[in-house]
Structure formats: structure tokens, C-alpha cells
Symmetry: C2
Subunit: 360 residues, 2 copies
């Protein structure tokens, strides 16, 4: 599982080198408020302390840490965004506190251990991008035994949902297949080559693209049609890479909406800033990416659609087995398997089903 650094840069890091992309994150008020409050309502964690910001991007968390009184902040960034971070630090007069270091966290050497590791490492549905690996690596090498992690805890949630996307994606898929059959005829009639042998592969490719790829969505809370459950809890102080390689959970949500369609499941996450057991936060802050009318985030939720949707109603009970793994080709992308059994409130069991999804 050696990572090709050139490919990893082309696939992953390169987007972070654009101010446009950093600005999108800096414009996410829910995200910004959470980190801002976490820092400034817990100044005792920062005052006079040394801080490491893993993946500093524009430098925002490093500057806030300095504003909260940090003695020294190491701000590590893999991309050329480090140069802008350095400019921003200087323009805000913290060049004596914040040291921006361009490099991969994994390769960087610091002159000392730190009291706080702060990082905004969360990807879609928490684990996409696998950036927490770099935070774990930083923690194990550079956090003092008495140190604290910002954030300190993270959780993944899953819930049954309804969504019109299920019809949209189905018809996109069918359109692509109609197109294929026209193409097939044309290629045979005009160009003398029979491509029908590829129909199965084409249809699999298109199914994967339209039906089996999880989607970014900003759900309305009333699209959640059942109870929500936690599929993963992470203690950022103790989690190992092994702990986050796979997520496996069996949950039993109940349908809480009357006569509706189970169109799929949605996943989101929250993180908490609680400090450590020995050195707790004065004010605990939560950052949640749950469906919300007024507090949506750039992460939105990930949606895993079921084709076809299934009629359900209040009191139907589900048993869902959820499993998420990294793909073989790219350790920053995920494959998800969802199997589901439905016991209707009448007691009738529907045939179980199993679906595979790609989080690209």
C-alpha cells in the first residue's frame, strides 16, 4: 500500500493550492464558528503554549491560535498555499509566533514537542481524504504526553432518508443506456463494427457512475425519515490508523415518517472540542454537519441511494450493516457496503438487500 506521491499530489493536494478552494472553507460559517469558538472560549489551552497546525492551508487556525496567546505555532502545509499562509501571518503581525513550514506532515521535523495539535482534517463523511492519518502521525511524533487534540472527538452518523435524487439518477442512467443503444446501431450500420459485446461493461460503468456513487447533498431535516445512529466514534487522542482503516457497524434505525419511500441512507459527522481528560475544555464546542435548515456546511451530507426505493411507514424497523473501506487504487477514496433488512410494523419481513457504493 505504498502511496505514489506524484499521483497523490495530482489527485488530492493540488486543489488545496488554490485560494479559491481555501476561501470556500473559510466561508463556511458553521466550520469557522466552531473552530473560532473552540479556540477563543478555551484560551487556557493556547495561552503561552506551543501549537502544531496540521495542514494550515491559508493559516487561519494558526493565526487564531496566536491571537489566543500561543507562544509558538508550527503551521505545516504540503502545498504552495504555504506561501500565502506566510503572507497572511505577516500581514496580521504574527511572524514572530507562527512559523509556516512547507512540507508533508509526515516528512517534517519540529524543534520541539507541542501542547496542542489543531487541524481541520475532516473530509466528506468524515474519513474521505484520509487526512486524519497525517494527524495521527503528527500526534504520535510531536504531541507532549500532556497535550490536547483540537478537535478531540469525532463521530459518524447514518440515517434513512427520502430524496427525489433517486428518480433523477435512475433516469440519467436510463438516458445513458438509451444513448448507448443508438450508438451501437450507428456504429454497426455506418462503420461495420458490432459493439454489443461491450453493452454489459458500459452498463456497469454507468450504473457505478449514476447509481452506485454516493452524492454530496444538502438535505432538509424532514428528508430524514427515521432514527439516526452512530456508526463510528473516534477519540482523536488514542485512535490508531488501524482503527480508522475500516468502519463496520450494525445499526437498527426505525422509520418515523408516515407512508413514505426509503430512498437510501445519508451519512454525516460531527466533531467535538473537549480538550483532554486531564486538561478539559472550559467550554465544549461542537461542529456538526447534520441536515439543517440554517446551519448547513460545505461538507453537506453523503447520500447513498437505493434503486428502487422501498415503501416504508412509521414503526418499520431496519437492520443495517454498514461497512466502509478505502479503495485499493486510492487510499483517500472509500467503498461502502450497505446491507439492509426491513421488518414492517405488521411483522412482515421484506427480502434483505445489499448495495455497494463508491465515495469518489
Amino acid at each position: 500500500t505504498a502511496v505514489d506521491k506524484g499521483a497523490d499530489f495530482a489527485n488530492y493536494f493540488c486543489t488545496y493550492a488554490f485560494l479559491y478552494h481555501q476561501k470556500e472553507m473559510l466561508s463556511d460559517r458553521v466550520r469557522m464558528d466552531a473552530y473560532f469558538n473552540a479556540i477563543f472560549q478555551n484560551k487556557h489551552h493556547f495561552h503561552g503554549k506551543t501549537v502544531l497546525d496540521v495542514g494550515t492551508g491559508s493559516g487561519i487556525l494558526a493565526i487564531w491560535s496566536a491571537q489566543a496567546g500561543a507562544r509558538k505555532v508550527y503551521a505545516v502545509e504540503a502545498t504552495k498555499m504555504s506561501e500565502h499562509a506566510r503572507e497572511l501571518v505577516k500581514a496580521n503581525n504574527f511572524q514572530n509566533v507562527v512559523e509556516v513550514i512547507e512540507g508533508s506532515m509526515e516528512d517534517v521535523t519540529l524543534p520541539e514537542k507541542v501542547d496542542v495539535i489543531i487541524s481541520e482534517w475532516m473530509g466528506y463523511f468524515l474519513l474521505r481524504e484520509s487526512m486524519f492519518d497525517s494527524v495521527i502521525c503528527a500526534r504520535d511524533r510531536w504531541l507532549k504526553p500532556t497535550g490536547v487534540m483540537y478537535p478531540s472527538h469525532a463521530r459518524m452518523w447514518l440515517a434513512p432518508i427520502r430524496s427525489g435524487l433517486v428518480d433523477k439518477k435512475k433516469s440519467d442512467y436510463e438516458g445513458a443506456m438509451d444513448d448507448w443503444f443508438c450508438f451501437l446501431n450507428e456504429t454497426r450500420n455506418c462503420y461495420g463494427v458490432d459493439t454489443s459485446v461491450l453493452t454489459k461493461s458500459f452498463s456497469e460503468e454507468q450504473r457505478k457512475y449514476y447509481l452506485q456513487t454516493s452524492l454530496w447533498n444538502n438535505l432538509h431535516p424532514n428528508q430524514v425519515i427515521g432514527t439516526t445512529a452512530i456508526v463510528k466514534e473516534i477519540d482523536c487522542m488514542t485512535a490508531t490508523i488501524n482503527d480508522i482503516l475500516n468502519v463496520n457497524a450494525s445499526i437498527a434505525p426505525s422509520i418515523t415518517a408516515e407512508n413514505t419511500r426509503l430512498c437510501g441512507f445519508s451519512g454525516w459527522f460531527d466533531v467535538h472540542f473537549r480538550g483532554s481528560m486531564e486538561n478539559p475544555a472550559q467550554s465544549e464546542i461542537e461542529l456538526t454537519t447534520a441536515p439543517s435548515v440554517d446551519h448547513s456546511t460545505h461538507w453537506g451530507q453523503q447520500v447513498f441511494l437505493l434503486h428502487p426505493p422501498i415503501h416504508v411507514s412509521v414503526g418499520d424497523d431496519l437492520i443495517v450493516n454498514f461497512s466502509m473501506n478505502r479503495t485499493k487504487e486510492n487510499h483517500r477514496l472509500m467503498e461502502v457496503e450497505l446491507s439492509c433488512e426491513i421488518r414492517q410494523s405488521s411483522g412482515k419481513l421484506l427480502p434483505p438487500f445489499r448495495n455497494k457504493f463508491y465515495m469518489e
Copy 2:
């Protein structure tokens, strides 16, 4: 200039591994007709001969070569599309003629030299993707001295144009900057960090994205407002990589439209199938990607916009210096410099200007 293979695959090859993408090329009637006619109207080049198809993709050109009577076809493809090519070859009963080889052309060893090299290697504005490098490499290693190249010649064209895109892109850019200033205020007021030092870099990033990136466009012929000129001619039999690393040309187009705006320049290409001097085509075929109402291609044209556009009219003469180079970061992408002087029909000289563009 060593190429990182992992990054090259992530950036370039990966898209070709999708049937969807191959299908798009196979649905381009202009492209298909040209290769189809080139092969079937020149069967003497194929009958009983050995053929190498560089980058066979779905295998279409290899199968046509076999249908035209080739004794043996080597069909080389870098991506997993090779497996579909193999299926297609088999389904069309040419498994005894066409041998599909998965690998980079640069790494592949053939058991013999060939009579024909066929390839569809053309990218946007001909040279984007730099795939002709691989064809040159194949030719120098595997073409018999008596062999022929399919296509045999290629040309790049440039013409002055008008286009409403110039206004669209300008307003997109201005919208992005308006957004930036809102963001700047919000970040200062709500989060106590002054990001104004990044304004220049953000504006440069956005200028590059909106104003200096060449665009794909399917131009109407009446958007061409002047004479068109050739900026590069390639003889596929003799061209070296050195010959195609840069394109430099000085051209002098005249405006042929009355009272209009010079909004920029457009580039396109054509290729010809003429066989070789010793073994000419019986029927010469042309594939052109020039602006056309009825015969547009998936290549469209590349458009290089001028901000602001300039008022011109019939009889105005331009002197344009065009130069195109590969980017340092990615040898498959191009940078273009266009400088221009306008002598109005009245004799008045407008101040010269110079623009840089990225073909991404």
C-alpha cells in the same frame, strides 16, 4: 523533464479507461468518417500488411485495419481499455489478426517492424496531451523505411474571432472579485483576520482561471472575422519531438468583417491522410476541426479571449506573434503567448498588446 508516471496516469490516462469517454470519440462522425474513409478508400495500404495502432482505445482503428485486409495489427493501449478492445476484436472475429497489447507505447516490444502506423493522437488544438510524442517514438522504433503514417500530415490554424464569451468571462471574473471583497470584510469583522494581503494573489488566480484560460468552443463560421493562417505544419513521417516542443509563428491576418469586435483568436487543426511519397494514398482524406455549421467535432476550437475586445473593421491588418510551449509542471498542457499589433485601414497603428494563456 522526467515524467512522473503516477501523476501522468492520474492526470491524463485515467479518463481514457472509461467506455463513456471512448464512446464520445466513437460518436464524433467527422472523426469517424475521416479515419473510416482513409482506411477503406486506401485498402492498398492495408491489404496483406502489418499495422501498428498507437493508443487503440476501444480498438476501432485496429479492427478497421483488419477489415481492410491487414495481415497483422498490433494494437497498443496504456489503460485497462485494452481489455475492452480485446473483447471487441474477438466479437468481430479478428482475434487472429489483431493483437491487443496493454502497455505504454514507449515500453512495448513488437516482434517485427510494421508497414503502417495508424493513430488518433490529436488533442485540443492538435498538440494538447502531447500524445504525438508516443507516435514519434513508435515510428522511430517500429516503422519500416517503406512504411506510411496515418495520418501523414497535420496543421494548426489561427484566426481572429468575435464571441460573446468575452463578456461572460469578464463578468464571471468580476463576480468572483465582488465575492472576495465580501469575504474579506466578513473574515475581518467576524473572525478578526485581515485577508486583504491576499487580494492580489486571489485576483491573479481568478484572472488566470476566467480570463487567461483558453476555452473549448464550437464556433459558428461567421464568428471568424478575418483571414485564417497556418501556425504549424507537421509531416508525421519526419517530425521530431524537438519540432513539436514549441510552436512559434508570426502571421498577418486581415479583418474581413465590417465594424465588429476583435474578441480574441481561435485555434484549430486539420490532419491529412496522404500516405507517403513512394506509396501515396489513392484517395486523400482530410479531417478538419475548423468552425462549421454541420461538421463540428468533439475537439471544437480553442478560443483565446482578449480583455477588453477591440473595435475593428474590414481592411484592418493584424500582425500576430503566436507561441505555444508545454508547461513546466505538466508536459501535456500548454502555455500560449499571443502578441498583436493592429494597423487600421486608415493607416493608424493601435498600441500593441501581449497576452498569456493556459490551455488546461
